[in-house]
């Protein structure tokens, strides 16, 4: 069914015109995970409240730095939205290096499924520096109850093999991780 954002007789508002254009939310600063026991998923800055009873097209550009023995995960907390989610990312077990490449995982997970992406730095690097990417795009449909949607991230496999400094993993912020979304229904 066609989505009619504009209706005859209604005023055109700035908010309606903005609804024609993708909205963007960015991760403000690097989100850091340090230490072997730090595996709890935490909320990122990618948090927003969509319209109720609506359909959106979305595209998440996910950027991270981690050693090859560390798996970064992300998932959506969206109690009042159903995602049709399509992801592409480096498979666990990939080698280190910016242009070395990796087996790719391409799948259609549930919204709460923590997809597991492989780091691209040599194991034992104290502060990983390679900026790797992962992708999550598709649509989501909201119910008639308002609720926020939150992107969560976590890191698994961090250890202290760089002792005395603990291994680090970073979800990249600033000019990096960002979500674009547009209402389409």
């Amino acid at each position: 069914m066609a989505y009619e954002l504009f209706k005859t007789g209604e005023f055109i508002s700035a908010s309606k015109l903005n609804a024609l254009v993708p909205q963007m939310i960015t991760q403000g600063q690097d989100l850091e995970f340090v230490g072997a026991s730090n595996t709890t998923a935490v909320a990122t800055d990618i948090v927003f409240r969509p319209d109720v009873s609506a359909i959106y097209n979305y595209e998440l550009f996910f950027c991270y730095s981690a050693d090859t023995d560390v798996d970064v995960t992300w998932h959506w907390d969206a109690s009042q939205a159903t995602f049709s989610r399509y992801v592409a990312h480096r498979a666990p077990g990939a080698a280190s290096g910016l242009n070395v490449g990796a087996d790719a995982v391409i799948r259609r997970p549930a919204q709460t499924t923590a997809v597991e992406v492989q780091g691209g730095d040599i194991d034992g690097t104290i502060d990983p520096v390679n900026f790797m990417s992962g992708y999550d795009r598709g649509t989501f449909t909201t119910t008639s109850s308002p609720a926020v949607i939150v992107l969560y991230a976590a890191a698994f496999g961090l250890d202290d093999d760089a002792s005395p400094n603990q291994e680090k993993c970073l979800i990249r912020g600033g000019n990096a991780t960002r979500l674009l979304f547009t209402r389409v229904g």
Binding site: A14, L17, L20, V21, C63, D77, L98, D103
Partner: protein, 185 residues
């Protein structure tokens, strides 16, 4: 849980209440498209040269973009690309096959596939895309998507390409290589 997280206030906005609406404003709503138009051939050089994908964006603006690259090359020279954008900061996400990807065989071509490079490189970082043979069969592609933000100084943005490794055999940027871009704030 989710309701306790902080909703980001600084979403992008293209239209603002109280400002006059112009035809130029409304034309910003749709995406723009630029195509390469003809094959560009690169031999025995890794110096990136300008393509037909060139344009001058608005100043002090943010854009979403998506570049579809079609190319052919043998497994040794491969293909490489970057952006020349002195007055724009790209948030660039790339997907490409590793150097020396296996050649396609048969008619129609059977693609053996290759490891994939998932990166978040800087504007001018020269990214490789693996050649699968300089033939009409097995036309590979690469992706470069994300956003870019321009400064207050007007300046062109140009896609530049070359061989990733210098070789006498030709590397080609194919004619239907296409950039789609849309202003979002």
């Amino acid at each position: 849980m989710a309701e306790t997280v902080q909703i980001q206030k600084s979403r992008t906005q293209l239209f603002h209440a109280g400002r006059a609406l112009t035809a130029k404003d409304l034309n910003l709503v749709g995406p723009n498209i630029i195509t390469q138009g003809s094959d560009a051939v690169y031999t025995s050089s890794t110096t990136p040269t300008a393509t037909n994908i060139t344009f001058t964006p608005d100043v002090s603006a943010t854009y979403y973009y998506e570049l579809f690259i079609a190319y052919t090359a043998n497994g040794t020279p491969d293909f490489g690309w970057r952006w020349n954008a002195p007055e724009a900061l790209f948030c660039r996400y790339t997907l490409s096959m590793i150097e020396g990807a296996a050649a396609a065989t048969g008619t129609p071509a059977t693609e053996p596939g290759a490891d994939i490079i998932f990166r978040r490189p800087a504007n001018a970082t020269f990214i490789p895309a693996g050649g699968t043979g300089d033939t009409a069969n097995g036309l590979p592609c690469a992706f470069d998507r994300g956003t870019f933000a321009t400064t207050a100084t007007s300046s062109a943005i140009t896609l530049e390409c070359a061989q990733f490794t210098s070789n006498a055999a030709a590397t080609r940027l194919r004619a239907d290589t296409t950039l789609i871009y849309q202003r979002i704030s």
